[in-house]
């Protein structure tokens, strides 16, 4: 017998064999069991997820006299005939090539006649989205009032191309992509039954390349098997899928990171020598970089995609590279990818790209406005921080001296007024903002749940700017409770956002301390802006005196202060 492809030999013959669609097969089996099958089904889903297999099994099960728990027996005459495709009453049509009105009319006319050898006539229409509009309309008429002995099973990969009127007449099942894990176990199962051995990573690589399609996975496996003696190796698998090993990609990225251009170029030569497709290599590199980015934010996901084969090197690299650097690398790689299409010398572009990647980040900054922008942003932030720090220092040192000793000790044991946060608010505080806040304050509190409202009951806004609001509390205890209640602060800020359109930062301050904080702010403010005026007032008197002294000698000058 001629060789049959794996995916044909191992096409599921029972619902239980369909991998990854348990809910759907269970529903179908229950329907068969209860004799409540619909007269029209629509199976949708990406390729290789089991649509056609399910349709065939359903056709068998409906016609099988020995139905057991919704599964066909696969031994009776009709089951065998359907599997072989010889039963006259199960008609498979590929809509891709029979998409005209005439073909569908033909179905419609023949559907009227009773089945000849099985209880039901089953029409399986594959790729149903390819039908023409006229054909759809013809089909619709049949679906609206089907003869009782006919079942339609429509299968498609693109449900959005099927008219809604058709969809609403059918029972629709969406087949999900099969998880890499499920594909892996199915392949392992098949190999075991064929008494072949395999390397685990090899199957994982195939499962990954199949992207959720069982048929794809089995086709790749088929190819791999064709040049290996009953043993599936990673090397063969990668050769078929054309991808580079994670190991090599990892080494390459490592070299890029350490900026050892020679090593990176050598690795590149290795890839070239192995005859890999350059486009594929760049794609792999982009994917690898993306995975690194993904891993920084969603490690579980990468582990799921890679079937738990995340190695130490990958983890290390994801920590070594900063996100902007990775974005930049992806930019360079995609540019080279674009250029590859227009050249006969892909290796040159790749080498140039490699050299570029290996250059130190500083030189890259010219090419990447993003990085420079972030750098300047950071610098600005640092200067701002420094300013605030110096402010705090002058503030922090002088203020306690002026203040009485009592509040100083008290502050230590109770709540601090967060001076650093308050001052920037006061810098921009306006009467208008405060008025606006006061007007919505009660409404805002009404929106809180009762418990939080009770907390905030003894509070009032005392100063406000567009960016922040200072809220004073009567009681230190409540203040402590309030400021540690992050959920409530969030609720307040969200509430404000709803009411006045901005979400100012909310800062709490004890009421007793407020006058003092304000005072010190005013003083500091004065010191800041009035340093010059102070100097001026001094200089008003001082220059006169000093000049007089220089003219007449200090002995003769008597300063009378009145």
């Amino acid at each position: 017998m001629a060789y049959q492809a794996l995916y044909r030999v191992w096409r599921p013959q029972r619902f239980a064999d369909i991998v990854g669609q348990e809910t759907i097969t269970q529903t179908l089996r229950n329907a068969l069991d209860a004799h409540q099958t619909s007269h029209a089904y629509l199976f949708t889903g990406p390729r290789g997820t089991g649509k056609t297999s399910a349709a065939k099994i359903l056709a068998k099960a409906i016609n099988c006299p020995n139905l057991k728990a919704g599964e066909p027996c696969n031994h009776c005459e009709s089951c065998r005939a359907i599997t072989a495709g010889t039963l006259n009453d199960v008609i498979e049509i590929d809509a891709a090539s029979n998409n005209g009105v005439d073909e569908i009319r033909d179905i419609r006319d023949k559907a009227k006649y009773a089945p000849t050898s099985a209880p039901y006539k089953v029409y399986i229409i594959d790729e149903v989205h390819m039908l023409s509009t006229g054909a759809f309309n013809a089909l619709l008429k049949t679906l609206e009032e089907p003869p009782s002995h006919v079942v339609f099973i429509l299968a498609t990969t693109e449900p959005h191309k099927v008219p809604l009127t058709i969809i609403s007449r059918t029972q629709r099942f969406d087949f999900q992509r099969i998880s890499a894990q499920a594909i892996y176990s199915r392949m392992a199962d098949i190999l075991k039954q064929k008494e072949m051995t395999f390397e685990e990573p090899a199957l994982k690589a195939i499962a990954k390349a199949a992207e959720g399609g069982m048929r794809d996975a089995l086709s790749i496996l088929d190819q791999v098997l064709s040049f290996s003696d009953n043993h599936v190796t990673l090397k063969n698998a990668l050769q078929v899928t054309g991808s580079t090993t994670q190991q090599l990609l990892g080494d390459y990225m490592q070299a890029v990171h350490t900026q050892t251009t020679t090593k990176a170029l050598k690795l590149l030569q290795q890839v070239l020598a192995a005859g890999k497709d350059m486009g594929r290599f760049i794609e792999d590199l982009i994917e690898y970089s993306r995975d690194l980015l993904l891993y920084q934010q969603a490690p579980q996901m990468v582990e799921q995609i890679e079937l738990g084969t995340v190695d130490g090197q990958f983890k290390q690299l994801s920590q070594d590279f900063t996100a902007p650097a990775l974005y930049w690398m992806i930019d360079i790689l995609s540019d080279s990818q674009k250029q590859l299409r227009f050249t006969n010398h892909p290796d040159i572009y790749l080498e140039v790209a490699t050299v570029k990647l290996c250059q130190p980040q500083k030189q890259q900054s010219a090419a990447v406005p993003n990085v420079t922008k972030q750098l300047t942003q950071l610098k600005e932030e640092i200067t701002q921080l420094k300013q605030q720090l110096s402010q705090l220092q002058t503030q922090g040192i002088k203020q306690p001296i002026k203040a009485t000793a009592k509040p100083k000790t008290r502050r230590k044991e109770t709540q601090h007024a967060n001076v650093a946060a308050i001052f920037p608010v006061l810098d921009q505080a306006t009467k208008a903002s405060l008025d606006q806040l006061k007007s919505v304050w009660t409404e805002l509190l009404q929106q809180l749940p009762p418990q939080q409202r009770a907390l905030m009951h003894a509070s009032k806004p005392v100063a406000a700017s567009p960016e922040g609001v200072v809220v004073s509390f009567d009681s230190d205890f409540l203040l402590g409770r309030a400021s540690s209640n992050q959920a409530m602060v969030d609720a307040l800020e969200n509430g404000l956002d709803r009411l006045i359109g901005t979400a100012p930062k909310i800062i709490f301050v004890p009421q007793e301390e407020w006058p003092q904080v304000r005072q010190s702010y005013i003083e500091q403010h004065r010191r800041g802006t009035q340093k010059t005026t102070e100097a001026k007032t001094k200089s008003k008197t001082a220059p006169v005196i000093s000049q007089a002294k220089s003219l007449f000698g200090s002995d003769y000058v008597e300063v009378k202060d009145d």
Binding site: T23, S38, T157
Partner: protein, 349 residues
């Protein structure tokens, strides 16, 4: 119990009325809820014994059959039975819409018939339109003479209630979250819900309980809802979920540009809702001003509440930029989307 005129009868009332009393001669079914219409049809068909059905039943689609034919049938006496049942579908002449077919309808004949209906005939007119033209003489007369039956779409609550009751009768439990999800995925459309229920009930045949997982894998999400969950994932900065949802959509062979356009549209709606709501617009106002479906606005309101305007703005601008890149660079759409979501979640983190 059944009054002519302004009273509109619901399906359940019709059921009772048809069981207890003999049917009236003219009924007008108003509304487009396909499931209810099917139920009503079923109720009327039960008036006829099965052996009569072929002789004394007529179903006329006025899109292709002239009204006169239907009236002719209505005026003839029943054959070997007590009554004749005549359905009339697509009575476009009751609305103000322009004629679509060149079938000539004898409207005057209908007026004449309405004034003197044949007592042995039950005439049921299915007007699956939003609004009838009340100025037309025939509409006025029909509304006066016929028993009105309500087949208008149910409100969200009512539909949900209907489903819950239906399940109770079938003695099947449904988890509250599962019901919620079902309503969400079918957009509270009764016809869709009842269709999906058949599958769910079959699945839950043994356990007698419909779970969230069952709803998730059996009830289809349409593209908008898929996008809706995608929006949710984007805004929640759930990179993993967003990326896998996007891939799923691409695998369904959705156009990336189309996906992006819908995403942009959704974020624009969220922003609009957010801003307008602050200016005191209620849900109804919003739906009217934005020309959006009320249920969509309701969902958008719920969603918008959870996010700050700044974050929405950022996402919106990011998506607009993504669109620009999709159209100018030759990069893979999926990669671009991944980069977008990664950047977005990083910036805001």
């Amino acid at each position: 119990m059944e009054k002519k005129g302004k009273m509109i009868m619901e399906v359940s009332a019709l059921k009772k009325a048809l069981k207890n009393n003999s049917p009236q001669s003219v009924y007008l079914v108003q509304g487009q809820e396909a499931y209810l219409i099917d139920q009503i049809k079923e109720q009327f068909r039960q008036l006829l014994a099965p052996e009569e059905a072929t002789m004394n039943f007529g179903d006329y689609d006025l899109a292709s059959v002239p009204l006169a034919t239907a009236l002719n049938d209505a005026m003839s006496a029943p054959f070997f039975g007590e009554r004749r049942l005549v359905f009339i579908q697509h009575p476009l002449f009751l609305t103000s819409a322009a004629k679509q077919t060149n079938v000539v309808h004898d409207v005057a004949g209908l007026i004449k018939y309405l004034q003197q209906p044949v007592p042995t005939t039950t005439l049921v007119i299915f007007a699956a339109y939003d609004k009838l033209d009340e100025r037309k003489k025939v509409t006025k007369l029909l509304k006066k003479k016929a028993v009105l039956i309500d087949a208008r779409p149910l409100t969200e609550q009512k539909a949900q209630h209907y489903v819950a009751n239906y399940l109770k009768q079938k003695n099947i439990n449904i988890q509250p979250e599962a019901l919620q999800l079902l309503v969400q995925r079918t957009e509270a459309n009764l016809t869709l819900m009842m269709g999906e229920l058949t599958k769910l009930i079959l699945y839950a045949k043994k356990q007698r309980e419909i779970t969230v997982t069952a709803v998730k894998s059996l009830v289809t999400q349409n593209l908008e809802q898929n996008i809706f969950t995608l929006v949710d994932a984007v805004m929640a900065r759930d990179v993993a979920r967003a990326v896998s949802l996007y891939r799923q959509l691409i695998l369904q062979k959705e156009e990336p540009l189309k996906l992006n356009a819908i995403l942009v549209g959704q974020f624009r709606l969220l922003l609009q809702v957010k801003i307008l709501q602050r200016n005191g617009y209620s849900q109804g106002d919003l739906a009217r001003v934005l020309h959006a479906h009320p249920y969509r606005v309701k969902l958008a309101l719920g969603q918008a509440k959870r996010f700050s305007q700044k974050a929405l703005r950022q996402a919106y601008l990011g998506l607009v930029d993504l669109e620009y890149q999709l159209k100018t660079s030759q990069r893979d759409a999926e990669l671009l989307f991944q980069l977008f979501i990664l950047k977005f979640s990083q910036n805001a983190a």
